[in-house]
Symmetry: C2
Subunit: 117 residues, 2 copies
């Protein structure tokens, strides 16, 4: 780990950064929403179908928080009826490394647990 604790201050900064990250992208849904939207921009109902199990209320909250953190963009088209489309922002690509390591670890861990049984 390149963040190997060299000083107490550094250690605390690292823990703080992990907490920040967990706060912003942690929980059950946020990364799933981002992964779904990477494919293509979508309307609310489409996202809800892709992210199976999420309620409209929770999805609405999650989208607001993701928007607040600059990860998701909400665009209103002035059609009749009004059309609202969500997409991932350019900034959300900053999560690429995090997603990649999580995918790798999740796959590896599944195999690890299998061989333990």
């Amino acid at each position: 780990m390149s963040v190997e604790i060299e000083s107490h201050a550094e250690c605390k900064a690292s823990i703080h950064a992990i907490e920040d990250a967990i706060y912003v992208i942690g929980g059950k849904w946020k990364l799933r929403i981002i992964v779904a939207l990477r494919d293509s921009p979508m309307r609310f109902n489409e996202i809800q179908r892709m992210v199976s199990g999420i309620s409209a209320k929770v999805l609405s909250n999650e989208l607001k928080e993701l928007e607040m953190n600059g990860l998701v963009n909400r665009k209103v088209y002035d059609d009749t009826p009004v059309k609202v489309v969500y997409s991932v922002t350019e900034y959300s690509k900053s999560l690429n490394n995090v997603l990649e390591t999580l995918v790798e670890w999740g796959k590896m861990h599944r195999e690890h647990i299998k061989t333990e049984d």
Copy 2:
């Protein structure tokens, strides 16, 4: 993202892997416990002091789940009174890359949010 969706099956496997990872190390406390224990093995009360804000009940559950997933080791020393010491396992080092990318992203995101305000 090297896991860039080449096929639908691959895409679903990646999402599944991310969900696995979030299930095992997600939430508010697990990574903080692991980061604390990386420093040195500790007794229950010491962990609780290090991971500020966690209740004894929640810490006890988190430790059990981490143990079940091979990330934390619980050792009972037959002293009087009995001494129980927790440590990270060799296997927990598999999380190094995940922790590293989370630290990096958390630090970067804090700066990003600052400059947005």
